[in-house]
Symmetry: C2
């Protein structure tokens, strides 16, 4: 990884046009071809960047210009870095960094709900996970106490997109006469109000689930009015 601290002006042309006026910034050139331009503020995002694969071109001695090119389809993306002054320029061999181990993403929610489908609805039994349809798999397919079919879409945060997704699945599932009365449940850690509005306007049930409760690490909230 090459780290250059320099006073520079950066121009991006591609999907849009963007110009960064001359200022002191960090240029991060990764060994996979990534180029990131970071300011001292601005948080997570680089001010400008190019994702791999890229072709780099260096001009000047000392360095005066870096051109980063990418051939993405018909249009060429280009990052043009004009360097006015170099404050620091170091290269570190960092080798291979181990992968990130994550826990708590949507997949885990699906695993937990598959094992305890009653959190999706009273008396639900799991038929199978990743129930296939012509347009992709539904997260869970369940049956209720009256043997009715229920397709369950699981999200960490459910937005309107999730409602559309579940609606599409149901459209296809119901084409099978045996499942014409299949209903839908949207299960998520958090359901956005507008997603709930849309879901209920389409007759889809909404269930908010708690990861801690699913893991048995917290008691479910008591129902005050029975």
């Amino acid at each position: 990884m090459r780290l250059i601290v320099a006073r520079c002006e950066v121009t991006y042309t591609g999907r849009l046009t963007a110009v960064l006026p001359e200022a002191l910034r960090l240029l991060m050139l990764k060994s996979d071809g990534s180029v990131l331009v970071h300011a001292d503020t601005g948080g997570y995002k680089p001010q400008n960047w190019m994702t791999p694969p890229t072709a780099l071109e260096f001009e000047g001695e000392p360095l005066e210009r870096i051109v980063v090119r990418k051939f993405a389809g018909k249009t060429e993306d280009r990052l043009d870095i004009r360097i006015a002054e170099i404050v620091s320029d170091v290269t570190h061999d960092m080798g291979e960094a181990a992968e990130l181990e994550k826990d708590g993403v949507e997949k885990h929610l699906q695993e937990l709900l598959a094992g305890q489908p009653h959190w999706c609805g009273e008396g639900f039994r799991l038929v199978r996970r990743e129930w296939p349809t012509d347009i992709g798999p539904v997260d869970l397919m369940c049956r209720d106490e009256e043997d009715g079919w229920i397709a369950v879409e699981i999200k960490r945060v459910a937005t309107i997109d999730a409602v559309e997704q579940l609606t599409r699945y149901l459209d296809f599932i119901r084409r099978d006469p045996a499942m014409a009365d299949c209903t839908g449940v949207l299960a998520a850690q958090q359901i956005k109000p507008q997603a709930r509005t849309l879901a209920e306007s389409r007759g889809l049930r909404c269930v908010e689930v708690d990861l801690m409760v699913l893991r048995g690490e917290r008691e479910p909230e008591l129902t005050l009015f029975v």
Copy 2:
């Protein structure tokens, strides 16, 4: 900005739990409180990070541990960096970096079309931008020469999602008897063929607009057959 190249192990707990095994990485500590952990590969994204506002805690001399805390509502987010070996540790005063000037995003398109709604359709007058519905605001609400209502959805690149979005808005708008005959227009710099097909099958008009023409920097194309 403080740049530390170090062999370290990083643990994140918050919205999920993630562990990075010990390896050589770049730690970027920005003056706004951002902390980014970058590997030499992996492109654009940091392997781990925390966005401002944060509280940093340093332990050991030489540095052995950095704890980054964030108080986001009810749950505390925490990044725990355990440093095994420091390869480099430098701080640069980068001052204020000028803002990024972007050009060609959807907002500009909406501003320009709001000022010249006739590009969306003959004789259109703007009623308001960001017309509210129960499921979110429509980009433009217009009336035509016969005082008919038209909802306009604006996109940089219109895909099927944009058609679905406009359809949803119309479903809700038309529930008001006074607007039951509201029609829809999809306006975009580029309309994908499948989006156009779906839109027209639903009776929605499609308009491709040219940013240069809207700005008056280019003459509109002549209509060959009048």
